[in-house]
Amino acid sequence: MLMRRVIPCLDVHAGRVVKGIQFQALRDAGEPVELAKIYAQQGADELVLLDVSATPEGREHALATVRDVRRQLPLPLTVGGGVRMLEDATALLEAGADKVAVNTAAVSRPELLGEMASAFGCQCTVLALDAARAGNGWQVVVRSGRDRLELDVVEWAQAAVEEGAGEILLTSWDRDGTGSGYDLELLQAVCGAVGVPVIASGGAETAEHMAQALLAGADAVLAASILHDGHTTVSAIKRRLATLGMEVRL
């Protein structure tokens, strides 16, 4: 039986792991390769690495980081941040990513998802989707939270899967970094609308929050601050999820 995944997320800037609140106020959280090794030992199911620098120098740094992490990591690695064209995705896969996440560029040009899926398969093609509450629904947010679009999150998720996205990394912009739990209604809406796996992101403080996300339909949960700050470990989270009745790999 397919198990639910716990995925540590490393936001990387200039070769260091950083963490902010609602994508702002970055602070240092450690060395990527060291953290990757620690999380792998703790039983992480895979790893997400997001390049938050969005500069040409940052991009070179990120490729070097991907190569270094790949050498050490016997787990799947998703990399995102600043992917604009098929060539960017190719460079990341060659450096050692197993999946590539696209955000802003996919909104500007959805065909990018199709190009990636044809070249590498939909299982390599991840849509990173940032959502902010607006009225009774959610708006797509791009450019690290700077722009809110007149684009409905659920409709965009469906269109992106149609294009070729094989997985959705769904972040609640309202909850990110707050520790107040995932936006469960958002998860239910998106998971109910697409047939591909959804990774819940933004707002987790406890294993109970994660169990709620999995019950809402998420296939996996992303966690960053609570792990980097040493509040808990992947193994402790997974043991707790198991006692809450979730199927996880222990």
Binding site: L2, P74, C122
Partner: protein, 204 residues
């Protein structure tokens, strides 16, 4: 100088993870699309990212398919991963107009709509009693198509996603995995180690 492991370049595959897995086990790795080298290498990996149709056609055109067929028929140490496993089979719903190598009497088909597709994540693996390399545990899968029926003459490991499917097959020195051993943590590394322990045409 010959490498410990030769990886077949089938086209658009991401090879970094497979290379890194063998290097972590202290083995030297080379990547090639030379059919003669593939036929004669000590150990060969047929990796698995891409779509069935284009890759199957390319293998048919450039002689790599025949080299792989020779290895499997002669029981030379060979590892096929994910799409690589489907290439050993007769064909796939993913590319009906292309043919596999027919070494496994089975065809790949898509998972039913009742489950999440692609299957991305760790799934449990159960094994036939007479498996030598394969063990029970959990492995990382990333696939939309799978083999379901037991192929004659192979030992089989099973998993479950919208019904039972084939997680892996083994016969002598040949191992075919639907999952990615290179991404399956220490369980996957142990499996690669057992496959590396195979020595040439002698069944070990």
């Amino acid at each position: 100088m010959s490498a410990d492991v030769l990886i077949v370049r089938t086209g658009a595959a991401n090879l970094a993870s497979v290379v890194a897995a063998f290097e972590r086990l202290g083995r030297s790795v080379k990547i090639t699309d030379n059919a003669f080298a593939v036929r004669n290498a000590k150990r060969v990996v047929l990796p698995g990212v891409g779509a069935f149709g284009p890759v199957a056609r390319r293998l048919g055109e450039n002689g790599l398919g025949e080299a792989i067929r020779h290895r499997v028929e002669e029981d030379l140490p060979t590892l096929a991963v994910c799409l690589g496993l489907h290439l050993l089979a007769e064909g796939s719903e993913e590319g009906e107009d292309a043919e596999g190598l027919g070494l496994l009497k089975a065809r790949a088909s898509r998972y039913p709509k009742s489950v999440v597709v692609p299957q991305l994540g760790w799934n449990t693996v159960e094994v036939d009693q007479d498996c030598r390399m394969l063990r029970e545990g959990a492995a990382y899968f990333a696939n939309s198509y799978r083999l379901s029926d037991r192929p004659q003459g192979w030992q089989v490991a099973w998993s479950e996603h919208g019904g039972t499917f084939i997680a892996a097959v083994e016969r002598g020195n040949v191992l075919g995995c639907q999952f990615h051993p290179e991404l399956s943590g220490s369980w996957g590394a142990d499996l690669l180690e057992r496959w590396l322990g195979c020595e040439g045409a002698v069944t070990c």
